[in-house]
């Protein structure tokens, strides 16, 4: 709970720091604030407390998910040095909104009451609408913001209607009350409960961009400023899956037989839609958007096969995915700045041609993150997939497993296109100047990906 209060206060402090003449103080301040919140979170390790009138539960699982969110946010902020040079940018507001959105994510992670879930989802979403449209003069950013906003509030409507129906059936918004209602109903809960669960699921699946609710994702991810795309595709996804895990494992585990078929069908559809469309992309950024849809599909396997292993598998996969995605977007930011086509950064695959010649480090970082996303052994992504797949085996969901393995093979094709472009194509990429801190963040993320890939046990001991 302490991180939530701290980050809310720090966000306001950052807004006031924006009045200062020197912008240089903002970035270190934002990083420091996130680190303090990270440390404060671990004060509650191994204690399980309910806060705010039993509305928020902080346990080890919630702290782990919050840690992933905070690490992702730390990396995104650390890669944001450009804003301090851009005249049009408003770094104080951006950092403040980022901190506020982390508060929303943390409420989604630890909620114990549907009111808290709703408020958390909205804090996170409204912050994201603003950040998506933060490039005010860029038509593509405007369009992305409007699409995200309209589709996001549409989905919120569904989620709210579902919550209202759940309230009608149960008479309470608390997760444990919903659970005890289902247990007391002798296997015949009211129809309102089923409808309510479905609508809440639709709303949440929209937020994590699962098919068939994924149509906004490529447009929004492509139009938003790259840095905020990185934030969206990691923090929103991690928090969304933590919220879904909480909802399904606490409240609805008793009617598993009802929802697992629906979730398994959505998983299959998401895997197919994400991976097959990613193959046809020419823009790296748009490919990353489809890749984020396909990773939502892999994470959904963990939910459809809800069991003992699901929790640790979801945490591990979110961490691996966040590390790889942020470093990939970090490289894209650097590379896209070098060339411009039609007055905007070149984000196609060809921008990466011959990157390894003059920038071996950047090429290596991107290669490792692509390998991790594709799930090649000796990277964290491999163990993430392995844990999710073994959860599916425990539940006997063999057909989903076969589909997921096939789709990982398709994934290798489009992830390796950029690796081939970097190492085997000729290009005129000059030496790219990278700030030392930026470089340090990229190296740290890559090192963590490899360490987790070699000794995944390191992480499982914490769980």
């Amino acid at each position: 709970m302490l991180p939530i209060i701290l980050l809310s206060v720090f966000g306001i402090v950052l807004l006031f720091l924006g009045f200062l003449k020197t912008r240089a103080v903002l970035l270190p301040a934002a990083l420091l604030f996130i680190l303090i919140a990270l440390g404060a979170g671990f004060l509650e390790w191994n204690k399980s407390y309910l806060y705010f009138g039993d509305m928020l539960l902080i346990n080890n699982l919630a702290i782990l998910f919050s840690t992933i969110v905070l690490i992702s946010a730390f990396m995104v902020v650390a890669l944001s040095g450009d804003f301090l040079e851009d005249e049009m940018a408003q770094p104080a507001e951006y950092y403040a909104i980022l901190l506020f959105s982390i508060v929303g994510a943390m409420m989604m992670i630890g909620y114990e009451n549907l009111i808290m879930l709703f408020v958390g989802v909205e804090i996170l979403s409204v912050s994201m609408y603003i950040l998506t449209g933060s490039d005010k003069r860029n038509l593509r950013s405007n369009e992305a913001a409007l699409k995200y906003f309209l589709m996001g509030s549409f989905a919120t409507g569904f989620m709210l209607f579902g919550m209202a129906l759940l309230y009608g059936a149960v008479g309470s918004f608390t997760l444990t009350d919903i659970k005890s209602y289902i247990l007391l109903s002798h296997g015949r809960p009211s129809l309102l409960l089923y409808m309510g669960e479905l609508l809440v699921l639709i709303g949440m699946l929209f937020k994590v961009s699962a098919a068939p609710f994924h149509f906004w994702t490529p447009d929004v991810y492509e139009g938003a400023p790259t840095l905020f795309t990185a934030f969206m595709s990691t923090v929103v996804k991690t928090a969304g899956f933590a919220a879904l895990l909480q909802l399904l494992s606490v409240s609805f585990s008793a009617i598993y037989g009802f929802w697992w078929v629906i979730l398994a069908a959505i998983t299959a559809l998401t895997l197919l839609a994400g991976n097959l469309t990613a193959v046809y992309q020419n823009s790296f950024k748009r490919m990353m958007a489809y890749s984020s849809i396909s990773h939502a599909g892999y994470l959904l396997i963990g939910l459809a096969a809800l069991g003992q292993q699901s929790r640790s598998a979801l945490v591990f996969y979110s961490l691996a995915y966040s590390l790889a995605t942020i470093s990939a977007f970090g490289i894209l930011l650097l590379v896209a700045k070098q060339h411009t086509t039609d007055g905007r950064p070149d984000e196609s695959y060809s921008a990466f041609n011959g990157l390894s010649r003059n920038n071996p480090l950047l090429a290596f970082v991107l290669a490792v993150s692509m390998l991790s996303l594709a799930g090649i052994p000796l990277t964290a992504g491999f163990w993430g997939k392995f844990m999710l797949f073994s959860a599916a085996v425990d539940r006997g969901m063999v057909w989903i497993l076969i589909l997921a393995v096939l789709m990982s093979a398709v994934g290798i094709y489009y992830y390796f296109r950029v690796v081939i472009a970097m190492y085997f194509r000729e290009g005129q990429a000059g030496r790219i100047r990278v700030a030392p801190f930026y470089q340090f963040i990229l190296i740290a993320a890559t090192a963590l990906t490899i360490i987790l890939g070699i000794v995944p046990g390191l992480f499982q001991n914490i769980m």
Partner: protein, 115 residues
């Protein structure tokens, strides 16, 4: 001379109508909202349809809350109203930003992003 009737409590007035009618009218409003979002091309009207969806949820919550004599549903309505107001602020700002750049709020004209 007839004795003056005791004033009827507000929840009782609501309960004169069967709960299922509240459910039907809320669902109808919600579906009208969905149809509005899916068929209209003007950003403001889409936005109004979304507000209609949220308000149908409010109506439903209040009805359930009164029938159960449980205040939490009404508290949730306040949360929804407050959050919807924040959303309106951000949403209208986005629409104004679009209008400044394109002189139009027709969502059909937004086609810069596609593969």
């Amino acid at each position: 001379m007839q004795p003056t009737q005791a004033p009827i409590q507000i929840p009782e007035v609501i309960q004169l109508i069967d709960l299922k009618y509240y459910l039907i009218i809320s669902t109808a409003l919600f579906v009208i909202g969905i149809i509005g979002v899916l068929t209209r091309r003007n950003a403001i009207i889409i936005f109004m349809s979304i507000e209609l969806m949220l308000n149908s949820v409010n109506l439903l919550l209040i009805a359930f809350s009164s029938y159960r004599s449980d205040p939490t549903g009404q508290v949730f309505v306040f949360f929804i109203m407050a959050v919807a107001a924040a959303e309106v602020a951000v949403g209208l700002a986005i629409i104004v930003m679009i209008y400044r750049n394109t002189r139009s709020i027709d969502v059909g004209l937004l086609n810069k992003l596609k593969w």
